[in-house]
Symmetry: C2
Subunit: 387 residues, 2 copies
């Protein structure tokens, strides 16, 4: 009798919410098309070698594995579509210049980041390949802000950071991947004691540079403080310069900009400027993105790359459910003219719902406001008192 229970953190999206998700999904794809982003639909399953190419251990652990009966090889159920888009850019399209791709599809995680999160987000994303200038970063950040605004969220904050800062701070130091992950996690939690412990063996100059990062968050003035506090190394200088340009441009467009040089969590293959979008009352970022110029190389074709993605289901949940759509009540009938009348109404964009006589409409998606009735020999609409 439990045949209808779903696994933890998987759920059905029921009619009213599903309509909101579908509407937002279309709005986002149309917004991306307005910038020239071309839709691609990568497969749900790929060989794990391909699916995890150029990504980290974290994505590997979050990816469901299964066996392909045809090849005997291990397949992965995608946990992220960005690497798939990078693969398509690198190989299938084989274009040299600027390529813009967008996508929208389910991704699945073995474990969710929190007990409240879903294990099946509906990922929407837009990726720009082949341009390493800041124009590309500005564009994807603007599109990300626009996407979150289109979902109805107001008072968005754009949080900027850059992977080159911590890389520059640790220049010349070799850390194991697990240690890098631990440093990034401790930076995000601003956990100084843990950082000191993790970096005990690291030369003082590098350690001090990393230990300075947890203090470097706030408004744009943080960038000046950072320039004064952090060592003058090329990647750090380039990062601070780029962030200053981006902050100025977004501030001019009326976007609230924050900088947090220690917030590098949730970025798995990024290499330069990164960003996330926050809204009041939402503890988690609503969208994340940034540069990942190195992932193409793992597909044998290095390409400048920047983009962002977000969970359409999560964003749709932030809005009030849409009101029920007006519909026409009709009774299945074999009388002359009836079928034609129904067909004509539907062709005009009306929702016509046929029911047995007297049957109630049990729906939160549609509500009857008129009925189709045969009056004086012709089929006509007449108003219906609200139920």
């Amino acid at each position: 009798m439990t045949a209808w229970l779903l696994p933890e953190q998987f759920s059905d999206v029921l009619p009213a919410e599903a309509a909101a998700v579908e509407t937002l999904r279309r709005t986002l794809l149309d917004a991306a098309a307005g910038y020239g982003y071309e839709l691609v639909i990568p497969p749900l399953l790929e060989y794990v070698d391909s699916l995890l190419s150029g990504t980290g251990q974290d994505l590997d652990l979050r990816t469901f594995k299964l066996v392909d009966q045809l090849s005997g090889r291990t397949l992965g159920l995608r946990a992220d579509m960005t690497p798939q888009a990078a693969r398509i850019d690198a190989h299938l399209l084989n274009r040299d210049g600027v390529v813009r791709l967008c996508y929208s599809g389910s991704v699945v995680h073995t474990r969710a980041p929190s007990v409240y999160a879903t294990r099946e987000p509906l990922q929407f994303g837009a990726e720009l390949y082949g341009h390493d200038g800041l124009e590309a970063d500005i564009e994807v950040q603007q599109l990300a802000v626009r996407a979150v605004q289109l979902s109805g969220v107001a008072n968005i904050t754009l949080a900027l950071s850059d992977m080159r800062v911590v890389r520059g701070a640790l220049a010349g130091v070799l850390l194991a991947p697990a240690q890098v992950d631990a440093v990034i996690e401790s930076l995000a939690r601003k956990d100084r004691p843990r950082l000191q412990q993790l970096l005990a063996e690291v030369p003082r100059a590098q350690r001090d540079a990393v230990l300075a990062l947890p203090e470097l968050f706030g408004d744009v003035s943080v960038l000046e403080r950072a320039a004064a506090v952090l060592p003058a190394r090329a990647p750090i200088d380039a990062a601070l310069r780029d962030l200053a340009v981006l902050a100025t441009i977004h501030a001019r467009a009326g976007v609230d900009v924050q900088v947090d040089l220690a917030d590098l969590r949730g970025y798995r293959y990024h290499s330069g400027v990164i960003f996330s979008l926050y809204a009041p009352g939402q503890p988690d970022a609503l969208a994340r993105g940034g540069r990942y110029d190195e992932i193409g190389a793992s597909f044998g074709r290095p390409r400048a790359a920047t983009g962002f993605s977000l969970d359409v289901r999560e964003l749709a949940r932030l809005r009030p459910l849409p009101p029920a759509q007006a519909a026409v009540r009709a009774q299945w009938s074999a009388q002359p003219g009836y079928a034609q009348a129904v067909q004509r109404l539907r062709a005009d964009g009306e929702v016509v719902i046929e029911l047995p006589p007297g049957a109630p409409l049990q729906s939160r998606r549609f509500a009857f406001d008129r009925e189709l009735a045969c009056i004086d020999g012709t089929w006509q609409l007449r108003p219906l008192a609200a139920a």
Copy 2:
């Protein structure tokens, strides 16, 4: 260097085709909404017990299995969304009257029915619950015909059949599930010798009834022949009577109707009237559907049920690719008024694609016909010679 190869019978859908798939997907969901079908989004993964509830061995074999780390239980990657919709109707919505649900999502198969078929169809379907009258069958058949017509396919044939005929013919005979599958397969191939072999132990009256079926295909007159040839048993009589009503109604609406009482292939949980849609030059059915009144019982709540589904990707492939969409060429610029001009154009529904100076647009989805230029101090559109 093979990190970009995909598993056999999985593929990326690239921009031009993806745009066609997305357009058709929206058209189909909107058509279903016009009939009052409410969108639901069931999860990609479920416990296998639930996912395969009330379905047959064939679906089990076609379903990828994986292990849930959280529960230790076996999950299935959905191979069919119809049973998921039935589960939602039976449990989540808990409505007594007529319920209409539709869905569109990827399903995945361990093996495809042919070497040319994809293992990841994009299933679109519409299901009507809670009404056992023929009105429900007529409606889903009409909607299926409409869906295939909306995809641009002409000269559709509606092929009708009924599971009750073979059930009635074999009344009182107990066959193993594998034997039933073999009989259905041999009926579809009209393989008399194999049928005789399979039914060697079956009493003569029943065997003769089954052996008559392969001849019972053609136009509506088949139903009269069937009534003369087949034994008079209640399920057979009911089936022939229902099929005659359906055939008359569809013929009156101008739909080409064929009857094939031996074509029961590809129906996994159906119990009554079944149908499939064919088009000239297409060997496989473009849509399939029918009654499956028994599946709800496996979720603990028996419900009348009928519906259909189709592969959006397959249908989209039958159309010529859409022409490239007109777009405006622009060059990223920090000049005054530029950003506002671009924003205004996009708000008006224009596609504005920003590129570095001189860079070509490598796209089959968009083509430039105008460019944004600063003329006499204001940003204006001007025509662009075709590249």
